[in-house]
Symmetry: C2
Subunit: 254 residues, 2 copies
């Protein structure tokens, strides 16, 4: 079993190191990640320029590959042959949850998506560490242990075709976590606001401001499970077709 560990926060992010350490307990691991932070970068494949890859050392002394490409490139390059054989791609651990519409912006999720497009199972791991006090560094240990439990399950059971897992882990100790729930994608409530300012030279500029997004704490959703202290496991597909809407649209006369 050969597991590729990647992320969108950059190869030196603590969440990646914790995830790689746990994966090494159950498989051969290659770490291949961006050389810088690509958070909220979406799904990018670099075709207009060549990519560099260099070997680097992580804080725990282990070896990793870093590339100047985007998160998707860091999946594409290994799967196209840079690494001999990859059985599973795990992405993360993202420092913040990726729930509801977040997933359309998430580099962590798109890395897993790129794996599935290439025919290899993919899992995205995110930790709701936004719930901890901001002045304390996040402890990824419990989340990494939980990630290992899920990966062991995936190795044992396999994943349905063309499906990735989007896993969100509450910021709790392993003992305090209430359990694992299979969820559907919930609803985020964005509270963005336009913040117009004027620079020292009298010219306007604009921040996308406003408060942090909340979510609709509905039972059965990723948002709801996380709020209740459960690990949320959402199976995602690559087919975005709204099949119900097809019937409505087929009545249109052009």
């Amino acid at each position: 079993m050969h597991i590729l560990v990647t992320n969108d926060d950059g190869v030196q992010a603590p969440g990646l190191v914790a995830l790689a350490q746990e994966m090494r307990k159950i498989a051969t691991v290659t770490v291949f990640a961006p050389d810088r932070n690509w958070s909220a970068s979406g799904h990018v494949k670099t075709l207009e320029r060549p990519l560099r890859v260099h070997e680097t050392t992580l804080v725990d002394g282990s070896s990793a590959f870093a590339s100047d490409g985007a998160p998707s490139d860091c999946v594409a390059l290994p799967l196209l042959g840079f690494v001999e054989k990859v059985d599973l791609v795990v992405s993360g651990i993202n420092p913040f949850s990726n729930i509801g519409h977040d997933i359309t912006y998430s580099g962590t999720v798109t890395a897993a998506m790129e794996a599935v497009i290439s025919g290899v199972p993919g899992i995205a791991f995110s930790l709701a560490s936004q719930d901890k006090p901001a002045n304390i560094p996040a402890d990824y240990g419990p989340a990494a242990q939980i990630a290992r439990v899920i990966v062991e399950r995936v190795i044992a059971e396999g994943l349905p075709k063309d499906t990735l897992l989007n896993v969100n882990i509450p910021y709790l100790s392993v003992e305090a976590v209430k359990g694992f729930v299979i969820t559907r994608q919930g609803l985020r409530v964005y509270r963005d606001a336009l913040d117009k300012r004027v620079d020292p030279r009298g010219r306007p500029y604009y921040w996308i401001g406003g408060e942090a997004p909340t979510g609709v704490n509905e039972e059965g959703t990723d948002v709801g499970a996380l709020a209740e202290g459960y690990v949320s496991i959402t199976p995602l597909q690559l087919d975005l077709t709204n099949y119900k809407a097809m019937d409505t649209l087929k009545k249109w006369v052009f």
Copy 2:
């Protein structure tokens, strides 16, 4: 009716100008687009830096707003209040088709997605101009006329909730187009290959190379419709949950 016209190719792209011209025949139009090309940039929302907006003039003498933000920002800023009231967001016309898995990479589609997340209907338009000889500039006229027909339909009928339309138009004259088909998302076949080279200083670098992607020409799909000369209209949703897989995963014991 106030229509926002945007794209991911940059405000001066000919596909945007053609689309805006046709939209002006049926509605008040604001053009708000990135000041540079963001193709294959995915879904990015810029929160780490402020954004600039400047007024510019398009090749046809009309006025437009250009921002240094990403395509999603060029939807978010107007909808957050930069423009007073927007009823519909149209994105494009992208110079190449966005079919199958392309849509997870497409800035054109994510602009329409950002509109729907913000509660405004969105439509992405793409033209399969990769099918024309490379030495002839693309004519967006027929595609823009077809886009207008679809927008008129959407204004008359409305769109199902939380649904965007992904429209792909064959590179044909209006007369030669066979008609409009409501489709599901098809399958792309990517033929990427790792192309390792050595730079003048003896260091390796990597291109994501290989041949252009093909598609599975299945009936009822965007790929199939386009190959047959039809305009493909795919309703897309923001919920990526694989509901069938949920049942399988619920049997897992942790």
